[in-house]
Symmetry: C4
Subunit: 236 residues, 4 copies
Amino acid sequence: MATLTLAEDRITDLITGNKILFHHGIVDAFGHISVRHDADPSKYVMSRHLAPGLVTRDDLLTYDLDSVPVEETTYRLYSERFIHGEIYKARPDVQAVVHCHAPALIPFGITATPLLPVYHMSAFIGTGVPVFEIRERAGMTDMLVRTAPIGRALAEKLGDRPMVLMRGHGATMAGRSIREAVYRAIYATQNAAIQLEALRLGAVTYLSEEEGANYDRYTLEVLHRPWNIWKRELEA
Amino acid sequence: MATLTLAEDRITDLITGNKILFHHGIVDAFGHISVRHDADPSKYVMSRHLAPGLVTRDDLLTYDLDSVPVEETTYRLYSERFIHGEIYKARPDVQAVVHCHAPALIPFGITATPLLPVYHMSAFIGTGVPVFEIRERAGMTDMLVRTAPIGRALAEKLGDRPMVLMRGHGATMAGRSIREAVYRAIYATQNAAIQLEALRLGAVTYLSEEEGANYDRYTLEVLHRPWNIWKRELEA
Amino acid sequence: MATLTLAEDRITDLITGNKILFHHGIVDAFGHISVRHDADPSKYVMSRHLAPGLVTRDDLLTYDLDSVPVEETTYRLYSERFIHGEIYKARPDVQAVVHCHAPALIPFGITATPLLPVYHMSAFIGTGVPVFEIRERAGMTDMLVRTAPIGRALAEKLGDRPMVLMRGHGATMAGRSIREAVYRAIYATQNAAIQLEALRLGAVTYLSEEEGANYDRYTLEVLHRPWNIWKRELEA
Amino acid sequence: MATLTLAEDRITDLITGNKILFHHGIVDAFGHISVRHDADPSKYVMSRHLAPGLVTRDDLLTYDLDSVPVEETTYRLYSERFIHGEIYKARPDVQAVVHCHAPALIPFGITATPLLPVYHMSAFIGTGVPVFEIRERAGMTDMLVRTAPIGRALAEKLGDRPMVLMRGHGATMAGRSIREAVYRAIYATQNAAIQLEALRLGAVTYLSEEEGANYDRYTLEVLHRPWNIWKRELEA
């Protein structure tokens, strides 16, 4: 088992976040969530190669921002750990990253229809989110972010936004905390499902840029409310 | 803990109503339900700021119709309590109010397609329900009903109807009892989901005004039937 | 408690059928299932006015085919019991009747799109099913089959078919056994959900009349297979 | 009880595979999964006629490739066992076969819209999958693969592909192991559900042939990851 110097509350939230994402169908056997190290911003913590629903404390590994484990390990690693390392490098404000293949999000990565905020719960979507086309940087791949350069290209596409869709693959969300990254993953997916239905009915009125920004500023204040019920659901 | 003078059956139904709405996906971590005070119609009772699925007796607070707690409290309050107070002010017939963001209802608040009754279970929809556009009264907000004047505008838009849709936000249902408000929230959402599917198939025959009114008169007589099975579901 | 002379296997299947229909979302708090009396074909057995998920042996009442309880009772009765009595009168081959408001079926009763068999599991749909328009016989009602004449009109519309859709209301299935009526309710609903999706994709090839008839002849032979797993689901 | 000489790990995976397919809604009371015999490639093992969710070790029978049980049995057999035997005959590389009626797949068998890979998880779909039209070989049937010749026609249509859709019926998946066949059944169904949604939004970018092939080569390496969480779900 690896040495784990991460603060206890981040360990707890990271394990809980893995399970919440699984319980809500945001990740299935695949996908992952990481957190930046609280004491050393040049490190992050994430599970070894494992379904998120199975992650325990003993599965957590510490990586540097090149996504190399800081201690030698015999564990198999997530192939796409570079998503996490490269976003932490590019975005000092980001404390947590979720990568997922949530079904409702896929259509918005493979068509020209932009994901836009249908209600305040997903206000963070703002004026839309970027779509990463791996072919632009890496040609015909197996779709995975298997290297630091591809991870860097993804981080560039993300820019200063809260999330990025990935064509034929899924999405990656960034947050100022584990709770915010999980919140964004859950409500981006919910938004996608609602938007798919609304688009059937004709022209849609989305949140304006100002409405979205106004609510988004408020989100951090109320993150404990969903987090507490999501934790309770895991106990039931 | 606050003093609670509400009749015991209203306390029980309020706590049960919170849990039923959560169990049926009408509310998630957000949304709330209140009941008018049985002994003093100028007061109402609602939980402190908390996910509905977690509400217990100790979380219930009594408010006046300006949505000010009648006893001092250190509890955080729902930002949108004005929805409740202003509807109780405007509608003496209303004994309970549900506010929610049920996904199936959102499309009918952000497009021009009116919500109409596809079957007798949602007969209360009648000839359609109003849609509240917060921009009309308050310009670019964070979408929340954070003040008494916005609450009043919502109550005006509701008028004498059983529910009001809120653009980019959700919906609010009024009822002559907690059970009726919960019933309306559940079947308005079910109606929205069915209507979305039916509209794919071509022209839809909705209940006529007379058919809707005829069934709606009957609803109060049979509310115990869904309530009993919804309670049983919570025990399972 | 009423005297119950129904054969023990019909009692068991009737109670189980109520619970299976609820577990599969075919009925919610509303809807009902009945069985013809094995010893006296001029009687049928059905629950008192109660959500199907709550029905126990003590709730079962025996009715004549005019839908009058054969013993005096203080229990409240289903308003729409005439659906059952009138079908048993008109159709000596029918041993069980399900009435439901399954959401996926509603669109096919309120639009001009006919329900047609997308696969062998719902082969009994054959060349389509009739739609009952209560306005034709009874004008502007509250949509309920509250009288024997309306029940008779429904039975006439059903004719010799396995089921009838009811505009703005739901559907009624007939079967040669409780298991067949439950099977038809579950797979008609599944067919509706699949057909709604298939129609998005363009022209649909349905089962031909001959294919449908061929498989339908086989269904009775394999009804024990779904019944056994549906029973097991109730235990879990 | 029949003599069972299959390797212990294949027995365990076969029983687990039955239950995973049921838990994920790929099979309901109908559908089946088989495995080739590890010691004798001219035999395969599959349950007797039983809902997959109920299969135990004692229900497993060994068949030759003509789908005749190698020991006399009084058990009823799956009518469509010829699907399995004929595919094992035609495809020496295949070690496991799943046959199912998963709802999301049906629309792609009854319309002209081809099933195509929306993301890497279903990369095995490649440039599309064949559709078996039973009428071409057998005219108007009851839709079931009840004979060796129809089974052979299905195996021919499958060709060297990972799966074949069956018009008005379902689909059959082949795999190099039980885990791969189950994986393909689950993600083909997930792909179908996502593709149905994406097609609403306009032109869809699917995986290219090269992208699909690149990821598919990698799948075997990570099959333990979904399998472990699917097993854990069964315990919960």
